[in-house]
Amino acid sequence: MTAIETPVLTKAPLTKARRSALTPRPKWWLYIVLTLGGIAMIFPFIWMILGSFKTTAEIRSNPLGFLPEAATLDNYTQLFGRLDFTTFFVNSAVVALFVTLGNIVFSSMVGYALAKLQFRGKRLLFVLVLGTLMVPGVVTFVPLFVLTSNLGLVNSYPGLILPFLITPLGVFLMRQFISSLPDDILEAARIDGASEWRIFLRVVMPLCGPAVATLTILTFLGSWNNFLWPLVVATSERMYTLPVALALYSVGQNAAQYGLMMAGAVVVVVPVLLVFIVLQRYFIQGIALTGIK
């Protein structure tokens, strides 16, 4: 409004004083507010890590104590000894690994077809992908469980992995990225007589590094933190993933073992936090690309 009516003024060379008014000086009180907010954001993590080195008795008797009085690794030895968190950790890792691999391979393939090939039914396929972007797991898990149990896959790795090998989000992301690659290089390869498979593997995929990085992070994270489906399909302890084990132990006889539960949370959260801090640029890029976690 006003902006459009006064173009002359904005075009005029700015005096030094006015220029500095336009880029306001950083406000010291904002640093304080943001720092206090930041502390509130990360304090639960600090509390969790400190708590995992305390004994339950200490947490009981001194619930507000900050540093552990006598730091102990008991909680972790219990976790990996009595409670078999090694198995749960391996289960989570195996499932996340296969889910991520599947998503990379299948999303890239169909993403390439949608982005760069002309074929009948293309629009229908893309509409299907878009239409199911937002379908939540809570809608599909009941029939999915009936199907899985009829296939005899309850309590198995395939049962945990198969429903997540593809995600519409992954297809969407790869399709968007591959669309942005120039057609010329594909045409050049076609004129040289390369088959579409060869073009896909040798020309397109090597250029997809950033998209694959984002997809890897998003799917691995999604799988690592996934809860509802593993809770439904892993009915015996040896197939639990970390979140399932943690949730089920946290309400049973171990519920009051604060230190133990904190240590369990650490095992789930800290590896992810470390990866995030190292690769934070890619995480945030992923959110900005897709708008969906």
Partner: protein, 306 residues
């Protein structure tokens, strides 16, 4: 596909090369399509069909005992006070949680974008960190923080306030879960808003400043209108996420006290646990409809923007 105005020429027969490319393309899509049909499209349709039957866990071995019962499951659902309670809880969770998350995230994004020049990455990482963590693990930590003798009440005690038993109090339990959801989701929206703020034309700000507009006036008259589509988008994706809230009550309250935190997703899961598969499907479809409606509203609102 191709729309040609005027007289319609006979549709050209696809050339051999085009037919070949169609085959190749479907080859690329085949693994996706198979998995999609079996594990995604199939269950979406099956869920709808099941919601009109009387399928229970006992029928898994004898599928021919299943009968169609019409809308009976849906009628029963809307007769069940617990289901209605779960709808109300979910609604409150969304209606309070979404605007609050947006407001806080917008303030943080504005502060990071214009107010400060240093340590931006540090703040961004800090505010984003909760997003990447498992809700289950974090819910356990928060459960301990919110205990009667936990960290929060201890902190309030310094100011002479004696806090309630947050998670066991029928009034405070749901707000406690909302608080945690806000904490966990600020980061996502902060990043989206930071991206959106890059799109606000600098010249508009400069012009408004030359006209003597205060910082607040510039926010309401320049920043906010330019950010409208971003805010809408944020509202919808957060709304869709919040409609499905499940882990928080599962770990922190088990839906209690007295169903004060029972969510629709949790109600569905419980019915599934009892073996009432068709009834659970009906409940999940009600939730699904709410999500579809929300998505459609988004499309309409965004279209009006263009």
């Amino acid at each position: 596909m191709t729309t040609i105005a005027g007289a319609r020429p006979a549709r050209p027969r696809p050339s051999r090369a085009a037919r070949k490319q169609t085959w190749i393309a479907w080859g690329f899509a085949a693994p996706f399509i198979i998995l999609f049909l079996v594990f995604m499209a199939g269950p979406i349709v099956a869920s709808l069909v099941m919601s009109f039957t009387d399928l229970t866990t006992r029928d898994l071995q004898t599928p021919f005992n299943v009968n169609f019962v019409g809308f009976e499951n849906y009628l029963r659902l809307f007769d069940d006070p617990r289901f209605l309670r779960s709808l109300v809880n979910t609604g409150v969770f969304v209606i309070l949680g979404v605007p609050l998350t947006i407001a806080v995230a917008l303030l943080v994004a504005l502060a990071l974008n214009t107010g400060i020049t240093r340590f931006r990455t540090v703040f961004r990482v800090g505010y984003y960190a909760p997003v990447v963590t498992s809700i289950v693990a974090i819910a356990i930590v928060w459960r301990f923080i919110l205990q009667p003798d936990g960290l929060l009440n201890g902190f309030l005690g310094w100011f002479g306030i004696s806090g309630p038993n947050w998670l066991e109090d029928t009034f405070w339990a749901l707000p406690s879960l909302i608080l945690m959801a806000i904490w966990r989701n600020i980061g996502t929206l902060m990043v989206i808003f930071l991206a959106g703020l890059q799109g606000v034309p600098k010249e508009h700000h400069e012009a408004a400043m030359v006209d003597g507009a205060s910082a607040f006036q510039r926010f309401t008259n320049v920043t906010l209108p330019a950010l409208r589509p971003t805010v809408l988008f944020a509202a919808v994706i957060t709304g869709i996420g919040f409609l499905q809230f499940f882990e928080e009550p599962f770990v922190m309250t088990r839906g209690g006290p007295l169903d004060a935190t029972l969510s629709s997703a949790m109600y569905t899961f419980n019915q599934f646990g009892f073996g009432n598969y068709s009834y659970a499907s009906a409940a999940s479809y009600v939730l699904f409809l709410a999500i579809v409606v929300l998505s459609l509203v988004q499309f309409r609102l965004l279209k009006r923007e263009d």
